[in-house]
Amino acid sequence: GAGVSQSPSNKVTEKGKDVELRCDPISGHTALYWYRQRLGQGLEFLIYFQGNSAPDKSGLPSDRFSAERTGESVSTLTIQRTQQEDSAVYLCASSPLAGAGELFFGEGSRLTVL
């Protein structure tokens, strides 16, 4: 399809394991965002990529979290040594224009840390 694709859709892992979440943005979208959605909470900004500019990592909650993006394509969000508080839905969005542009969201990756 032509939308934002995220994988896996569901991931159950044990505390202390590393996980990798993947996002395929809409082709041609230069901006890519990661948000975290905890149960009963709003969307928490994690990181933003815009073209070849340095990413804004100001929302990453700890150094266990990292993200990469290759050019204007796929992005991966990696969580090392997962903790139970990392359990959440991780949403990826892309946009053709930063700022006033509309964000197009994927369906999210639901992470459960046991």
């Binding site: 709003g42 969307l43 815009q50 930063a98 509309e102 994927g106 369906e107």
Partner: protein, 115 residues
């Protein structure tokens, strides 16, 4: 810094009744405002947005919102809801200029439409 407050976490209504979902924001500069909807087991999609111009904004599925600068509000309304409108609704704000790419979301309002 900017923030968004959605005053109601849950709003139950009957089908064909009117509904208003409240949103207030805080920002020291001019802003763009958005409403997104998340249907069960789906990603978020844009309902409507206010960038400039007319303060009454119309969106998809019969929803509209009014920007009120003096009250720093952007409430979402629909005159007659359907069962299919059951979803979570998120208000979001993005300030003009600078690092204006960081959408700040409210905690969401769960709208449940009952028959």
């Amino acid at each position: 810094a900017q923030s968004v407050t959605q005053l109601d976490s849950q709003v139950p209504v009957f089908e064909e009744a009117p509904v208003e979902l409240r949103c207030n924001y805080s920002s020291s500069v001019s802003v763009y405002l958005f409403w997104y909807v998340q249907y069960p087991n789906q990603g978020l999609q844009l309902l409507l947005k206010y960038l400039s111009g007319s303060t009454l904004v119309k969106g998809i599925n019969g929803f509209e919102a009014e920007f009120n600068k003096s009250q720093t509000s952007f409430h979402l309304r629909k005159p007659s809801v359907h069962i299919s409108d059951t979803a979570e609704y998120f208000c979001a704000v993005n300030r003009w200029g600078g690092s204006n790419y960081k959408l700040t979301f409210g905690k969401g309002t769960l709208l449940t439409v009952n028959p």
